[in-house]
Subunit: 332 residues, 3 copies
């Protein structure tokens, strides 16, 4: 594997092989597999799970890591290709990325959306610029428009739970104090349809996902036999639902306009996942969320603390999913 940028770049068979490897490594680690190998981790944005699960994954395979976090012990980077660098940014990504790559066997990069330029964020322009100047394999640790490590962990979680690959999967928008990136909803939607599931996106009208994401999901559905639909009705969406995946995201209608977005969101506080949402769902319906989750804003505490919630095994699977990616990419 030369890069791990987007899960949807892999065929379903390739994803299934990674999930299988993740399960094997969960059951029986391979502690010498990456001896002498070094994974560089560049965090342009903060992290809890991604940092710790990658460091632990690498350690459990016998390898090592280093971490660079501009703003936390490292100066800030310039990402504008045309900048005359007389401002605050001390180093250009066109030097920083290849240099970090040259000390690494693979480089993980986290780089969130701009939140202001929808077109550039949808095209994942910045992550692709970084990837283009790196001479070692790149791992996407969440870019503007995707989060493939989360998606792979989620796929494994669905398999672990023995949820049918043709089951009903609801991706629901939820309230949040601020407009969040589209990376996780896009990754989640694509993962579920790629797995062949019957996916419903539940969201207020102003929070419809951009056309290009929907089109990509539809093309994956065409291959996998999955389905994609949208609704703003909790009742319609939740009826017969096997898995509810909650996640907030910013409105594309008001993209980059924090004030208008906030004004619109003010009336949407009831979009917090409650136990009542599950009344017409399948009896065993699960609640997923990528974390961090804001309790009693995005999901009610009593749902998170109930047996429905699989957010902790889901998070734990980040480590095994990443061990599979690293093993495929770097073992001899």
């Amino acid at each position: 594997m030369k890069t791990f940028s987007y899960l949807s770049d892999l065929t379903q068979a390739e994803v299934l092989r990674l999930v299988e490897l993740a399960k094997q490594l969960e059951a029986s680690p391979d502690p010498g597999a990456l001896a002498g190998k070094v994974l560089g981790l560049l965090f342009m944005n903060p992290s809890l799970r991604t940092l710790s699960s990658f460091q632990s994954a690498m350690a459990r395979l016998g390898g090592d890591t280093f971490v660079i976090s501009p703003g936390h012990g490292t100066w800030s980077l310039e990402w504008n290709d045309d900048a005359r660098m007389d401002g605050a940014h001390a180093e250009h990504y066109r030097e920083a990325i290849p240099v970090l790559g040259s000390y690494s066997d693979a480089l993980g990069i986290r780089m969130f959306a701009s939140g202001t330029n929808l077109e550039a964020d949808l095209a994942d322009t910045q992550f692709k610029k970084a990837r283009a100047v790196c001479t070692v394999p790149v791992i996407n640790m969440e870019s503007a428009i995707d989060h493939p490590c989360q998606a792979l962990a989620d796929w494994k979680t669905l398999d672990d739970l023995e949820i049918s690959s043709s089951g009903k999967f609801v991706l629901s928008w939820a309230n949040h104090p601020k407009a969040l990136p589209l990376a996780v909803p896009a990754a989640t939607l694509k993962m579920a349809v790629h797995r062949g599931m019957d996916v419903t996106i539940l969201r207020p009208n102003a929070y419809a996902l951009p056309r290009s994401i929907m089109d990509h999901a539809q093309s994956l559905a065409n291959s996998s036999g999955g389905k994609v639909s949208e609704t703003d009705s909790v009742g319609d969406a939740m009826s017969g639902c096997d898995v509810l995946y909650a996640k907030s995201w910013g409105s594309s209608t008001f993209y980059g306009d924090a004030q208008m977005e906030e004004k619109n969101r003010a009336s949407l506080a009831e979009w917090c996942v409650e136990n009542s949402w599950f009344s017409d769902a399948a009896r065993e319906c699960k609640l997923m969320h990528c974390l961090p989750v804001r309790r009693d804003v995005v999901v009610a505490s009593d749902v998170l603390d109930s047996p429905r919630s699989v957010v902790l095994p889901q998070a734990k699977n980040r480590m095994f999913a990443q061990m599979a990616v690293l093993h495929s990419m770097l073992s001899n």
Copy 2:
């Protein structure tokens, strides 16, 4: 060992076995003992010795670590169990702690006192909340009311120096620019009486330790044959003293009232350990401090730079003490 939360939870025989193991690992490390094991380190508060000594301890036993420091590359955590999370804190400890634990074989947690709620700090409420949601063994890297790694290192230091287990141990308050937590004085007092020593707490009246700490110390003394007393007289305390342990702490009388505490402390600048304090002490009387120490405020520079001071071997013993804890907890 399923947890290392409080040294006083261990019997004297168990502590002695840990000290013995620390000495063995100092003389001859066991570099493969923790191969493939990962220690997670969660720092809610800053650190120098604890971070570096745990990372080095784990490395010398063949294991690995990761570090999460909210505010330094990771968002801030919510600790209020009833919070509706629409504010600054992005993730609840009820998710963060078990997730970090799921990537770890043991999790170290540093979480200082609130400094405002004396009752909750004495009960170590927050640390115990964190521990309760963690599914792997927890190591207390300094909580509101204890610092068992420091206490174990200090016990070994006393043994290394061949200071009699029935010798006279003075724990002295000292001046400081601000009110500090009770964790180290409580841990130090309990460690010394647990070891069987004759302990005098030397402090101005407004700095008497809370009743619950004194009672706990007395019950340990009853088992060990040690003694506990208090005085505000330097002369009385230091007479025949074998070890002076200097440490500042905040007044329980003015707990959480920084202004009143500061006003009261204004007249206590002479509570800086000077060479003159040792005139009636045992000739070989040692000076201990857990570090960091403010020179010429808490302890005079010439005392710190004299042969009496054992603050550096004391700090070095952090590494060996923690190697013993990790070895007991995690080796096969």
Copy 3:
């Protein structure tokens, strides 16, 4: 090797052995050489290459590292030997350095120039104070007046490029938004003359290097057969040049006077390395820079992106140079 403080403390033969070892480790790492060894890394100033290349170097030799960065998870340190510590700094270097050393087999220290006291910076007073209280070997990760790891990497880069040891080496000042330390220009000048090269320092008159640096360079030239001269003429300097090493530094004339320095620099914006500078240079003339480099302020983007630029292999050599230093210092 008991310390790696200044490359000029080594004989030319000793440097050549280190370069040879770096080349060997590049061709064939020695992954068990430092098993069980721990390198402490103390960063008083930010870093990108130094942090990641030392961590990767140590990992590739089988050893481990820890990182302490005051201000990023660790409190600030007091460096004044006479301070009464009632201010912002919680710990004195006279405790912090030996403690960190006691957890380490060697300690790397980064500590930039004060930028205000030229005499103290030229004497490297602060780094030498730190080194004096450390009981394990110290590695200079850039001090006020030297950067020997960079210099060793640069020497290897010149060898890798088969640039004659008697070739013409131009060290050129360049514009920058602020006054930078003298460490890299001093290290670069000394490295090039130590290697035996014909070195020209190209700089505006207010940016002449201090007498003590020039004298040191001349004495190295006397031993090596190298030469040292200065000019403010780009044409004179670049004529027949084999390597142009660009680097900005602050004026010694206006040392510590940011306003006067800035005023003087305002007219020097043309001191940005352009393709036109190379018209009379050797056809294969290379561009070196230690990075980070400000594009289109210090060096024009099209020079950095041209085949002349060797800034990336130069940065990569940091890792191999440091592997050689660590191997010489710590392997059994």
